[in-house]
Amino acid sequence: MASLEHSVAPPVSDHAATSTGLPSLKLAMWLFLASDCLLFGALISTYVLYRGASTTGPYPSDVFDIPFTSVSSFVLLASSLTMVLALAAIQRGDVGRSRVWLLATALLGMAFLGGQVYEFTSFVREGLTLKTNVFGTSFYVLTGFHGTHVAVGVLMLLTLFTLSFAGKITQDSAMTVELVGLYWHFVDIVWIVIFTVVYLIPTNPGPGS
């Protein structure tokens, strides 16, 4: 039927310029990220609502190691820079350089995740688990949810890195790198909010202390 020569058919969305002039994939990614904002919005609201509501410890001030988390936050934010460099390189057609920066971004993301794993284990050792109190509950689910987002981003970055060896990432596919970049920057920006709300704004100790 009409699906002849389908393997070389251009995508439907590329038949003509789009009505808004924006590429459809980019518009879809923006819409998805806007929707994702509300996922984090609901979780951050939950955390804020339960701030200081725990009836037993440990409380935030008992476990937080602000200097350590500041460093890992800096690592994550630095990865936004390498992401920008990866996109700039692929837009110039410099696949090799882009590949290096993609890998660097993924490694920085993994370093952040490693920091989170270390942080979680040390908190658990200090007696704070998911079940301990509402601080543990809302803290682990919020930061874990963000960590999952970072992990998905790392997976996408490593996929791009691998595909680049198969010659699949070229100047023409700069859009793909840009989309992953949009997602990655979004995850970074959300972390700025989480770091501020959860770690930096001091919490009153719970009623029990």
Binding site: L4, V12, S24, L49, T56
Partner: protein
Amino acid sequence: MASVSVQAERPGGLLQRPHATTGFWSWFTTVDHKKIGILYGITAFGFFLIGGSEALLIRVQLARPDQTFLEPAVYNELFTMHGITMVFLVVMPLSAAFFNYLLPLMIGARDVVFPRLNAFSYWAFLFAGLFIYSSWFLGGAPNGGWFGYAPNSVTDPSIGMTFYAIGLLIAGIASTVSAVNLAVTVLNMRAPGMTLFRMPVFVWMGLVVQLLLAFSLPVITIGLVELLFDRLFGTHFFDVAAGGSPVLWQHLFWLFGHPEVYILVLPAMGIVSEILPVFARKPLFGYQFVVFSGIAIGFIGFGVWAHHMFAVGLGPVANTAFAVSTMIIAIPTGVKIFNWLGTLWNGDLRFATPMLFSIGFIAMFVIGGLSGVTHAVVPSDYQQTDTYYIVAHFHYVLFGGAIFGLFAGIYFWWPKVFGRMLSETWGRVNFWLMLIGFNMTFGPMHILGLQGMPRRIQSYPASLGLSFWNMVSSIGAFVIAISVLVFLINAVTSFRKPKQMEADPWDARTLEWSTSSPPPEYNFEEIPVVHSLDDLWHRKYAETEGGRVVPVAAGGSGEMASVGDHVGGDGGAGHEGGHAIHMPSPSYFPLIAAAGFPIAGYGLIFGVPAVVVGLVITLAGFFGWALEPSAE
């Protein structure tokens, strides 16, 4: 047929795309928005029959006082599943069926912008429905109401509410993906000249609904995740003893739940806005007002959620604020009602079945809207909360509104989708039986509610004097069931008749009627160029100076685009026209990616290994998707 001529970049056998676009198996790999629309429609109608049967069981139990036909525990499961089914598995996907089928046709596009993502949404929705329904056989269905109020939904020892949380999470993923896809389709895939304010009202309502979905579903998603964590991992989100708050669940649920009400009813409003002008042979009265009212409803819909919580005790300031915003949202809704009446006014009315259902929609929705305004008054709401008055109200809005509108749409677009007309005689029988049955069922519930009959109770004593209206209501429910049976007979017998294939049987106004019935896979031989609102109408008719409508010499109903006559000259590529139009190939991967979700869901309930298996399947599906040839 589809012999494949060029196979340029084909990396390996594993990633070959299927080619069949006809036959049974093609339905599993299709990415055609029309086929996916039909799949949505059939699936949703199947769930409609199941959800309706649950309602009949409830009405049998309540027909007389002191009955023991259903155990209280089973009764809880039935009303919960009835609600979940009708909201998430019937009205939402039935609306999605219309959006999928019609939005691309109405804006002059060949498909949605991401066809494979569209298929993925359908399969994820289907698996969500099957997953929730499998709970009946795996330890008990959800039993905490469709709103799943904490802490009852957390502490309930049966397994049902876990199915509820996971099933709705999967359905939420399906709807969110579909929302992004359809919104971008409307924004980016419009034919030349199809400016935003030349779009049919149904397309506008489609856009508003997709944005409502994209911004309200994440909130319930987090609520469900928190519920799931409380149930499975012992967290304390809704645990008062540990400092948590069950009211948080109510906020998260209704912050989604109220926009959801408009997600359910705006599609029907869009459908009616398309049908009334066709059968009144007049343009829609005040098109801009209808569009802007729809947008206003979308915005204000996010600011009224706590009117579901007046009796919780949020305090006078919160209650007053939400009472006011609730009264305000009645204004754009009222504007639409008057626009529809204005459309009918002085029209050359034809009372075909779609028109009857549309008028039924307006009348029933007005009743539901008015009883809704009575809830906005807080002291009055205190009396009505958790009584049958509420049940009466939301059935007038969601059945008298959404379902009547959707039936109007089914009768209206059936000839477009299947190339055959539904019987007008059976249609009329269907309409009047449904209207009478509906009012018999839900009208008396106003009285029962004001007499103090509470919702969600399995039985009532004869001494309360509730027996008569309950019996009337139960008889009405069976009248509705007969009307649905009449529809099924009508639908089945329509396939006995030969295809008429008439492009424009109603003498309609919008682009989908300019192509053949059913439309070819590529929708339009040539992408239409749009010059005005109701473009097809203006191609067919012109207005004289005296304001009389006369057929354009070259035009006329039924004359437009009949693709069958239009075989191209070159190369025997097929016996149909349009062989030079490249449509995206079918794909296995949307089905595979979606299949991982329910498996992971069962894993969360019954054992961790399946979680891994499910995630691996989904991930493999997405990788295959990304790597298969000819990306969309």
